[in-house]
């Protein structure tokens, strides 16, 4: 592993910040509106007619805390996949960056960190929205941005690795359909996974989004003994995805 220079990583991030400043309004708007719409539809619709409480928690609060994971995956994996592909293939941004004293490691690290930070902030929006729907603030909630950050790093790395592996942009459809959507639905956001068949429950334990959902609910309603393990697993996954993303993108960018 070569030395990673902070100046190069920060330079890559500063490019993202400069671009983000041109579209932050629309992204922030949808990041706030999405959970509101979901909470109104699911929480109020389902919560007032079919279910009122899950595990002793109001259904609105159950869904609202779970939607943190939804916000994280959709503001990390998808931007990483599409953003990386577009910057590489259509805008040729990476050609320009790699001609400067920036290596692929630093490029990937900068892109992942930026997505991680952004998703760390956007991930908390559902929590804030749910507070408006009655969720009580808890001191441990200050950890939620960090949980989101670590999970988003993993998904950003995954997205970059996918973008570095596909030949055409429409192949992302396979990834969203086969990986992202099942993870999103089986994260325990909308219904507790304890109600699923045994095998699906076991599978869910390997779903990082499920682990994030559990951590966010723990921060909101109380931690359990396994939570440090969940966090450690997410950190390990983020590290593995970082290395994978570097490897895949290097193959793609360096002839």
């Amino acid at each position: 592993m070569r030395r990673i220079e902070p100046a190069a990583v920060l330079g890559v991030m500063s490019r993202e910040v400069a671009n983000f400043r041109t579209f932050w309004r629309s992204t922030t708007f949808s990041s706030l509106m999405e959970p509101m719409i979901y909470l109104l539809a699911f929480g109020l619709g389902l919560g007032t007619t079919l279910v009122t409480q899950v595990d002793g928690v109001d259904y609105v609060e159950f869904v609202g805390t779970g939607m943190v994971a939804t916000a994280v995956v959709f503001s990390s994996a998808l931007p990483a996949m599409f953003g990386t592909f577009v910057k590489h293939r259509f805008q040729r941004t990476y050609d320009a960056i790699l001609a400067a004293p920036v290596d692929v490691e630093e490029l990937v690290s900068g892109e992942m960190l930026w997505i991680g930070l952004r998703a760390g902030i956007f991930g908390t929006f559902p929590l804030l929205v749910t507070m408006a729907f009655g969720l009580d603030p808890a001191p441990a909630m200050v950890l939620v941005p960090f949980f989101c950050f670590v999970t988003a790093l993993a998904f950003a790395g995954f997205g970059i690795a996918v973008a570095g592996s596909v030949a055409k942009i429409d192949q992302f459809n396979y990834v969203t359909t086969l990986v992202i959507t099942p993870m999103f639905l089986l994260a325990g956001t909308f219904f507790p996974i304890e109600g699923l068949p045994e095998w699906a429950q076991v599978l869910s334990q390997f779903n990082p989004l499920h682990q994030l959902v559990v951590l966010v609910r723990s921060a909101s309603f109380g931690f359990d003994a396994y939570d440090p393990v969940r966090l450690a697993a997410l950190v390990v996954l983020a590290f593995a995805m970082w290395r994978l993303a570097i490897d895949r993108l290097r193959r793609r960018l360096i002839d």
Partner: protein, 296 residues
């Protein structure tokens, strides 16, 4: 020390030998034109120099640094202007420059950006988004971005390909200013005029290697004589003249409805018909004489 030293460099893509035993030295302070047709391996050579392609074999040194091992040190001191625009179009002119000033670890970013803006004559557009600029302004910005860190060596890959003549002239002015400052330049092109006008020396590249190298006038004198005749006539008449020129040992080729006799001042009296048009020989003629292929 030469700014660029390449020896026996080979780069293959599967069965394609994009660079095939390339030897190339570029002395400090000169502008070298790498002149060759599409597919000659010019862009691959540029990518090898920036560490974006790794050679299969051969040795590469840039500004004294050995590639690919010390590529990052070399890249810090070298500027690159790509063939295709890759500016961030939603972002302002100034921000585009700032980002690259940071990537190049420039100390005084404001001063570097001001200098680049002055160079590109875009100071009054600094707060505009790139997609509000005209084509010529965008191109000047692209060049200025590659110079934001005042590099000692600049790589220009086909800097004016596909541009209209006015924008091309603007870019040439920029490159001339750079030459005047003594910056070492490696510029690839397949435009004869560009090479003749801007380059101190030209390396003719074909099929991944340099086939001739020297000052434009020396190359022309050596391989194409002083003047070249173009003779427009019916096919039978052209065939006769062509046969006579070949018998006299002169390089000759067909170009559409004309037969072209290179170095026609060396022809025996009466061989070149009076109706033929003669013009000074050019690098194009040199290229055709050496490879049998046209450049543009």
């Amino acid at each position: 020390m030469a700014a660029i030293e390449l020896q026996g460099v080979v780069k293959t893509f599967g069965p394609i030998r994009a660079v095939d035993g390339l030897d190339l030295d570029v002395a400090e302070g000169i502008c070298l034109g790498l002149l060759g047709p599409n597919g000659a391996g010019k862009s691959t050579t540029m990518r090898l120099l920036t560490g974006q392609a790794i050679a299969d074999s051969g040795s590469l040194r840039v500004l004294g640094y050995e590639l690919p091992r010390e590529s990052k040190e070399a890249r810090a001191r070298m500027g690159v202007v790509p063939q295709l625009d890759n500016l961030d179009i939603d972002v302002t002119v100034e921000e585009n420059l700032k980002v690259f000033a940071r990537l190049y670890r420039v100390g005084d970013i404001e001063a570097a950006v001001d200098r680049a803006l002055a160079l590109a004559r875009l100071a009054d557009r600094r707060h505009d988004a790139v997609d509000e600029l005209s084509g010529g302004m965008r191109r000047r910005l692209l060049v200025a971005r590659g110079l934001v860190h005042s590099p000692r060596l600049v790589l220009l890959d086909e800097p004016t390909v596909g541009l209209d003549p006015q924008i091309r002239a603007e870019i040439w002015t920029l490159i001339e200013a750079l030459r005047a400052e003594g910056t070492t330049i490696l510029m690839s092109t397949h435009y004869i005029e560009e090479a003749e006008r801007l380059a101190d020396e030209v390396a003719l590249m074909a099929s991944g290697r340099v086939i001739a190298r020297g000052r434009p006038n020396d190359l022309i004198a050596e391989h194409a004589g002083r003047r070249t005749a173009e003779y427009y006539a019916p096919p039978e008449r052209r065939a006769e003249v062509r046969a006579a020129a070949e018998d006299a040992g002169l390089p000759v080729r067909s170009a559409g409805p004309a037969v072209v006799i290179v170095g026609c001042e060396r022809a025996p009296d009466g061989l070149v018909p009076d109706e033929a048009i003669t013009r000074p020989s050019s690098l194009e003629d040199v290229f055709v004489v050496l490879t049998g292929e046209e450049l543009e």
